[in-house]
């Protein structure tokens, strides 16, 4: 991974801190009649300023030898892959948006097969392992722990699940 340069990180934090402060400022002021001079925006704006100051300090100071001791690790890692982590993110997004309609068992099966094959497993072994894992997790959470995992497409066979 191109190690995030501390100066760039500092600049990002200054911008983020400023954004937090700005958003906190537009929150309504203290309730009139309350015995307190601090509104809901007080604490967040304090945090925004702290983030800005720390970012500023980082941007001015730049990288330090002792804090970047694992820079050589980063070198050794080489460039990050993009496809595989995006597949993980995609799997989670698919779960968020599709699990209710498709159901836990089918979606977990697909996610497991895809990710296991990314890890170098052959299709048949991946499918068998995914089936076993999905059913185990389903039984554990749905039957033992009473978590209402969605049945989705398998609803017609609900009596068997």
């Amino acid at each position: 991974m191109v190690k995030f340069h501390d100066r760039h990180l500092g600049v990002v934090m200054v911008v983020l801190g400023a954004a937090i402060t700005g958003l906190a400022m537009v929150l309504p002021g203290p309730i009139t009649g309350a015995h307190i001079a601090y509104g809901p925006g007080f604490f967040p704006s304090l945090l925004g300023v702290a983030t800005m100051l720390a970012g500023l300090a980082l941007a001015i100071r730049g990288p330090q030898a002792d804090t970047d001791s694992d820079a050589s690790d980063a070198e050794a890692k080489g460039r990050p892959r993009f496809v595989a982590p995006l597949l993980v993110l995609g799997s989670m997004l698919a779960y968020v948006y599709l699990s209710d309609t498709v159901g836990f068992l089918p979606i977990s099966l697909v996610i497991l097969v895809v990710l296991l094959m990314v890890g170098g497993m052959r299709f048949v072994s991946a499918l068998l392992l995914s089936l076993a894992t999905s059913i185990t997790i389903y039984l554990l959470f749905s039957k033992v722990l009473m978590v209402p995992l969605p049945r989705g497409l398998l609803q017609p066979w609900a009596i068997w699940l």
């Binding site: 702290a50 980082l58 002792d66 993110l89 978590v147």
Partner: protein, 498 residues
């Protein structure tokens, strides 16, 4: 009193209750050993099952499961560098560093035995000193709470290796996340951007799953670094040489026992904070502070004892005053209320055998931890031998189901996803995760105790230093703030002299 102790014992040692304890122990070890599933969740998931039990077996089940999960959280810490529960996060780097040196059995042995010692110590304190100690905690006002929270946050930002600046960034961002949702003082929604699922704030379990487990999965797939693969070591001789190690680290263990119990007693502060504070205190007073984060047995012993001591200690305010010491005891209090047992000063008068049953359940659970924990470590070898390319997809599915199980909404899976990405980028940028997480946990407490204190004092800051305990906590906190400046100043002086 003896009558109540005997009747409690006869109930506890009945085959039925023993079977419940054994089952909860296995369940707790399983949940705790899975990254992303916490001791708190193990307790919460037991609630529907304990619904059908009497008070003593119900509480015994939750006590056992939480203590076991607290230890089992150390197993993936050591083997995968993923804390199984947040309370293991303080010393994950140390446990994993030992594994990399081929000493996984040593680090897990320390974790197991110090966990049992800490749990038993906390239980003894609970049984012996519950009323007087809880009366001390009762004297704490919002001023003491404010400083105590701030002290926890400060130590978390400053104990991390590397720059305190990045610690402060991490802490500020974590505290910011804690302000998302309805502000309890004014009732104004903050930073929700119109999303209904954010109104109630960001719930903690998916955040933990995100930053600790999903981020680790993303890192695995982004780098596929052979160094991230499991270290192949033999896991034999868990107890070999432990007597010597425990004796050598006796001061650290004693410190972890005492601090862990005390922090557990303080309402609002639980095992996570106990582990962090005990770890940082051990580091501050260590003769070898440079080893911390790189496999320090001393830090492991102190924090390993502290988190289990805190689990026990948290029951003191819970039972005597009905104030939960942490999330786990909050659940237990709820269950006791459902059963018509009201925690509070009257519980000792109305249900003495229930109270003694709970005390004894702690001792039984922590003693049972040693043989069962050993079995769990031996089974941990299976995890050790498995390939991460197989394990990671399965862990991902567990993370999603675990997040979903918190409140049965897919929004929690979205939260885990978002915080997984945040955790991944923070790690890439060298920003420590722990202050971020602690900021999220303690943020509401800091803010509310600050506002309450300001209301009480009529806007005067002097009141924050007026009470002796508050002043003492304030002094320690401010000294930690000033320590980097002092170190900087001293270095400048040395450079000038040279």
């Amino acid at each position: 009193m003896m009558v109540h102790i005997l009747s409690a014992a006869s109930e506890l040692f009945s085959p039925y209750v023993m079977a419940v304890i054994f089952g909860s122990a296995v369940f707790g070890l399983f949940i705790g050993a899975i990254p992303g599933l916490t001791a708190t969740m193990a307790t919460a998931l037991l609630v529907p099952i304990t619904f059908y039990m009497d008070p003593v077996p119900a509480v015994a089940a939750m006590v056992t499961a939480s203590a076991m999960a607290m230890f089992a959280g150390d197993i993936p810490s050591a083997l995968l560098r993923m804390p199984g529960t947040p309370a293991s996060a303080a010393y994950t780097d140390d446990a994993f560093a030992l594994t990399k040196k081929g000493m996984a059995h040593v680090s897990l042995g320390i974790c197991l035995l110090t966990s049992a010692i800490g749990g038993i110590f906390g239980a003894l304190v609970l049984s012996a000193f519950a009323p007087p100690l809880a009366s001390l905690a009762l004297k704490f006002s919002s001023f003491e709470y404010f400083w105590l929270c701030l002290l926890g946050l400060t130590t978390s930002a400053f104990i991390m290796q590397g720059s305190p600046i990045k610690g402060i960034i991490s802490l500020s961002l974590g505290l910011f996340v804690s302000t998302i949702g309805i502000d309890p003082v004014s009732g104004v929604p903050r930073f929700t951007f119109g999303a209904p699922s954010l109104i109630g704030g960001v719930s903690l379990v998916p955040v933990m799953i995100g930053v600790f487990a999903v981020a680790e999965i993303l890192r695995f797939y982004a780098h596929r670094n052979p160094k991230l693969a499991l270290e192949q070591v033999e896991l034999k001789g868990v107890f070999t040489g432990q007597g010597r190690i425990l004796w050598r680290e006796r001061k650290a263990i004693a410190q972890g026992n005492v601090l862990g119990t005390l922090i557990g007693i303080v309402p609002g502060a639980g095992a996570d904070i106990a582990a962090w504070i005990s770890y940082s205190v051990a580091k501050k007073f260590s003769r070898k502070p440079e080893e911390y984060g790189r496999g320090s047995e001393e830090g492991l012993a102190a924090a390993g004892a502290a988190n289990n001591a805190a689990v026990s200690g948290a029951y003191i305010p819970a039972l005597v005053f009905g104030i939960p010491g942490d999330a786990i005891t909050a659940i237990v209090i709820g269950v006791l209320f459902m059963k018509g047992v009201n925690p509070g000063p009257t519980i000792f008068l109305n249900n003495p055998s229930t109270v003694y049953g709970i005390f004894m359940a702690f001792l039984v659970a922590n003693l049972l931890m040693i043989p069962l924990g050993w079995v769990a470590i031996r089974c941990g070898r299976v995890i050790l031998k498995a390939r991460l390319s197989i394990l990671m997809p399965i862990i991902l599915v567990f993370c999603m189901v675990g997040s979903f199980a918190v409140d049965n909404t897919v929004a929690a899976v979205g939260v885990a996803l978002a915080f997984g990405v945040i955790g991944y980028f923070m790690e890439e940028a060298g920003i420590p995760i722990a202050p971020f997480v602690l900021g999220i946990v303690l943020g509401p407490l800091v803010e509310q105790n600050f506002l309450t204190s300001m209301m009480k004092s009529g806007g005067s800051f002097v009141a924050f230093f007026d009470r002796p305990i508050a002043a003492g906590l304030a002094l320690v906190t401010i000294m930690i703030w000033l320590s980097p400046l002092l170190a900087f100043w001293r270095r400048r002086k040395l450079v000038d002299q040279a």
